[in-house]
Each structure stands twice: as C-alpha cells, then as structure tokens.
Amino acid sequence: MADKKNKTIPPEAQQYQQLQQKHELKRPIFKNCLKAFLVGGLICLIGQLITTFYIHVFNFTEQTAGNPTVATLIFLTMLCTGFGFYDRIGQFAGAGTAVPVTGFGNAVISSAIEHKTEGYILGVGANMLKLAGPVIVYGVFSAFVIGLIKTILVQWGGF
C-alpha cells in the first residue's frame, strides 16, 4: 500500500520525505500525557473546590451543586479565554484543558471573540457554536446510544 503510494510521488519528494522523517522530532507522548493528566486534574480539583464551597456556603446538596459548578467553571473559562490566558494553558497541557467542561466553554467563547467583527447576529450568533456544535451533537448522540445499551442490559440482561 505504502509502495503504491510512493510510486506516485516524485523521487525528489521521496528523498525529502526521508530527510524530513530523519530530522523530525519525536513527540514526547508520555510527557504530554503527564502534563494533560496534571492540568486536567487541577481543573477538576478547582471544580471540586467550587462544589464544596457551594455545599458549605449555600443550600446545595452534592447532587444539586453540579449545575452551578459547571456554570461557574464556564464563566471562569470565559474570563481566562478573554484575557488570553487559557490558550497558553492549552498549549502547555493539550487535552488536559480540552476534555473538561472548560474546553467546551473555551471553544464557544473563542469562536465568539473571533467572529465579533462580522457582527453580533451573523458573526457571533452564527459562528459561536461552530466548534462546540459537533460536541453537543455527538455528546447527545453518545448519551442516547449508551442509554440504549444500559436499557438493554438492565431490562433484558438482568444486571
């Protein structure tokens, strides 16, 4: 398959590719994973602190404190994205900042900022969910599939 593909590429390009492969820096996967784990964990720790704060100070239970915690985290992300701070953390931690809910907030807010010049309706309104839209669609779809699997297992599997 690879040879077939290589035949269509001119020899100079093949030589260049070989050279490029020789000098290409290897991605430090373990280091990246560790960074993502630590920064993602730190974001979750902040979320846990906010939840604990809501439980102790306001009349929220563990179950009801979830929604205001998510809202607060997204609000904090909005500020961090606006001040250009979140992008720097994102560059350092990669998936560690994209996987938690803050990544979703960042996707919405950064597109809103980017398209502000095109106007509030056709710019911000139309493009705000360009990145986050697929997350919602596939999130809902995965929830539906998992719900279906759970129902099948519980109803007929006897778990």
Binding site: I55, N59, Q63, T64
Partner: protein, 147 residues
C-alpha cells in the same frame, strides 16, 4: 534536573499510596441527648445499626415520633455502588422500624445538616417536637431535590 523529576515521580506515587491507606474507624455519636422531650432512642439504634456495616465511615441520625432521618458516609471505594448500599440500608432500617417513615442519604450536605440538628438537640436548642419535625421536613425536602 533529572533527579528532581525522579523525586517528583516518587512524591506523586507516595501521595497516591497515602490516599489509599485512609482507613478510619466509624464515627458515630451514640450518647443520648439531654433533652428528654424528644426521644432519640430510635436514632441511636439506627446509628448503631448503620455503624455496624464495615463501609460506613460517619453516621448521624435524628428522629421524631413518626420519622427517622439517617445520613451516613461510606468509604470512597464503595461510592460507585452507593445507590445499592442506600437501598439495602433503607430496607434494613425499615425492617427494624416498620411503622416509621424512613429516609436515608449519603450526601455530604445532608450529613452536615443532620450533625447540626444533632448538636442542637444536645445543646437543648430545639425545644419541641414540632420544631424538630419542621427541620426534618426541610432535610427530607433537600434530599429529594434533583436540580
């Protein structure tokens, strides 16, 4: 630099292992409150029963003549199955007190609030069963809140 990174890894693993060794004894105040107007024997019996299970770490309970509210915490490794544990404990308590309205919870907030009421009962700050019933009703309402 290398040594400091190694030291960091060792520290990380050590913290993780320390986290696993959190084996504390069950905390439950089984003394009878001074206030005799509101009998708390049922709550104490319920606390003894819940504390006897090995996964319980803390337990607090209050009761009126009709209702019993038990809040307890479980070991972290059992938190995945807390719903099943709650059901089992509720069933066990219902068997022990068949004619009472029983509510159980593992929520931190409810644990705190129940502890607060226990303390108020001990300090004789709740004078009548009506006042206690009002507080318990608020607890039950809070425990049923979903959003």
């Amino acid at each position: 630099m290398r040594i400091s990174i190694r030291f960091f890894y060792v520290l990380l693993i050590a913290f993780m292992l320390f986290g696993c060794s959190n084996q504390s004894k069950t905390k439950a105040d089984l003394s009878n409150p001074k206030n005799t107007a509101i009998d708390q024997t049922m709550a104490i019996e319920a606390k003894k029963k819940i504390a006897s299970y090995k996964e319980t770490t803390v337990v607090h309970a209050v009761n009126t003549s009709k209702k019993l509210f038990v809040a307890f915490d479980i070991k972290h490794r059992n938190k995945l199955t807390f719903k099943q544990i709650l059901e089992k404990r509720k069933k066990a308590l219902k068997k022990q007190f068949p004619d009472k309205e029983i509510e159980v919870s593992t929520d931190q907030k409810l644990l705190m609030e129940t502890e607060k009421i226990e303390k108020q009962l001990k300090d004789d700050k709740i004078k009548s069963e009506k006042a206690l019933d009002k507080k318990m009703e608020a607890l039950i309402k809070l425990s049923r809140k979903k959003t």
